[in-house]
């Protein structure tokens, strides 16, 4: 990661699990989403996700923000609305998402849940 750390001037270790200690402790598998780093809406979503998911690590990469959480990641409509100060449909998440890993276990009008099932 030294190349990109040097290039972005950001510390990426927090965003990745593969330091030796983390690898051993990786009994709880991480799930995560990559979001476009684009404007106010994305910022509001990131803040809401950080607040709702204790243990979330947020990493900046060129053009995108990566959020990783051990086990289960939840995006709550109410929290995002609070951040943005306006109505926000969960479908709107599709304007921000770039990629994810895990399984989308739920996507309804109130929340989106990403986790591994088995």
């Amino acid at each position: 990661m030294s190349g990109s750390r040097e290039a972005t001037g950001l510390d990426h270790d927090g965003g990745r699990a593969p330091s030796d200690g983390a690898r051993q402790a990786q009994r709880v598998r991480t799930v995560g989403v990559d979001l476009q780093e684009a404007g106010e809406d994305a910022r509001g979503v990131v803040v809401a996700v950080e607040r709702d998911n204790p243990g979330a690590t947020v990493t900046q990469l060129p053009g995108l923000v990566r959020i990783q959480v051990p086990g289960r990641l939840v995006i709550r409509r109410a929290s995002v609305e609070e951040q943005l100060g306006r109505e926000w449909e969960t479908h709107e998440f599709q304007l921000a998402i770039v990629s994810y890993h895990g399984h989308i276990a739920e996507w309804d009008e109130d929340e989106i849940v990403i986790q591994w099932d088995h």
């Binding site: 990661m1 030294s2 190349g3 990109s4 290039a7 990745r16 699990a17 593969p18 990786q26 598998r29 991480t30 799930v31 990559d34 476009q36 684009a38 990469l61 060129p62 053009g63 995108l64 969960t90 479908h91 709107e92 599709q94 304007l95 921000a96 998402i97 770039v98 990629s99 994810y100 890993h101 895990g102 399984h103 989308i104 276990a105 739920e106 996507w107 309804d108 009008e109 591994w116 099932d117 088995h118």
Partner: protein
Amino acid sequence: MAQKLSMKQRYSALTRDLDWTPDYVDPARVFPYTAFEGIKVHDWSKWEDPFRLTVDAYCKYQAEKDKRLYAVLDGFAQGQGHLSLSDARYLNSMKLFLQGVTPLEYAAHRHFAFLARYYNGPGPRFAALCQSIDELRHTQTEVHTLSTYNRYYGGMHSWPTMFDRVWYLSVPKSFFDDAMSAGPFEFLIAISFSFEYLLTNLLFVPFMSGASFNGDLPSMTFGFSAQSDESRHMTLGLEAIKFLLEQDEANVPIIQEWIDKWFWRGYRLVALVAQMIDYMLPRKVMSWKESFELYFEEQMLGGLFKDLEFYGITPPRHVEHAIAEKDLLSHQVYWTLYSFSYAAAFTTTLPDPAHRAWLREQYPDTFERYYQPPFDRAAAIQEGGGRFFFQGLPQLCQVCQVPMLFTEPGDPTTLCQRERVYRGERYHFCSDGCQWIFDREPAKYVQAWLPVHQIYQGNCGGPTVPDVLAWYGIQDGDAGSTSARSTTPTGSAGTPKPRWGLTMPVRAITEAYEFPSRSRAELYGDDQLVHVLWKGNMLLAAAATFRVPRAMPWAEFLAGVVDPWAASDPDYRPGTGRSWTLDGRPLEPRDADTLADLGVGHKSLLTFDT
């Protein structure tokens, strides 16, 4: 309104239950393609689509995405944005993208329409239909984005022709043709699962972060905008595999084989991305090795496959070879492209000192030891006013169609050669993975349109390099250099064909799925193809393939065919090859023996060292 449906109920009511069981015609005639692969589906309604996107919501959000994207494109064109790139060399990766990836988006568009027609269940049909038009979106936004660059730079002007014709683009083309020609379930595992879920992050995120990092705002914008659709497509892949695994236990071994096949097929395809990440981006985002570890080893092997264990699915066959190659892959592929770049529509240059330092740091175990030496020698040639090229055409893998540049597992200095004789004809493979894929369905892979063989059959515009480049649509200025020698084949008579080998039936809709090899001996008249490998020479990325008369005497073969090619290495002294082997057996040729006398058959492999 007294009642309001939840998103889940509304989605279900709008998308499900739209179909009915036909009784004016035989239902099996309405859905004729979902039986022959052996997959059993008992209840199509068990299909889950977590996105729950209805047509009205789809149009609303997609229109919003495109509004934002085209605003960026318009602003970029107006502001002469192409002048703000970090370095024009960066555009090589976008040339490769337009030539090799955009056509895959289009192929996906067309074939998801096939799934949207022929799946028996309306749930997956609707998901496939959305994906079909998403993929059309990606094709078009990519063309529109790169159209601005096309006005100022080479390598993009003839992308559809190039995709159909150019040698290195047969790698992505054959990959997708393979998936499209398969049945509807295999296509889904191939594209939605293996390509979109397993490998998409390796393919796209580095491209897009690279774009962002190198001042290419439009490509970053279309890339991330496309990726927001990809996340739906990834979901389709994951839902698909879980659905099929849950429907019937008998599906598990079939799907495991498809995962095994398509992991390896996809992994070989992303070899082109590996070199792009490590060599083509002037400003580096992360190394291939690092993205492989993160996106594949950690997220997929460590995450996804742990989940799939539940169903009895194991990590893909040959994955250990992919892991072992992570220190080698990008260097081997880039060196090959450098060696052949007189026939490519992009530029290759030698890594400068800072770039080499970065490569040493990223690849401490391999770069300095194995890959810096050829770059040093090429640099010396360049200082002398020359340019290193591989003076011939490379031997191609019958399955992945990449030049046979890969090395034996555990031995980075020995090129890997695998071979099968099927119905009397010899076929070569770059790896155990590709050989295994061939063995499953030889009747399919004998049809491969291998660019090198097609050139030698005279199907690619003519016998010389300039003829072929013109036919490819490559113009001056697309590549770094166009100075390379012509390879003109000649003509002569036949050896008896050996009669041994495997006959594995292909599971097709009819028993009669039999096609002749597109490289069969008779297509070469009195000539034949011969592969020649200089063992242990790291300057020559792969064995070379030649078309030569069977009646050609050995001395003439050496002086007229082998020597000019081996002279690609300036240290080669004509006639110094020794320890010859023919198809793995020692060979002691005498000058007057003809190739036929010596038992050199069509597509035989000759090796030597010095």
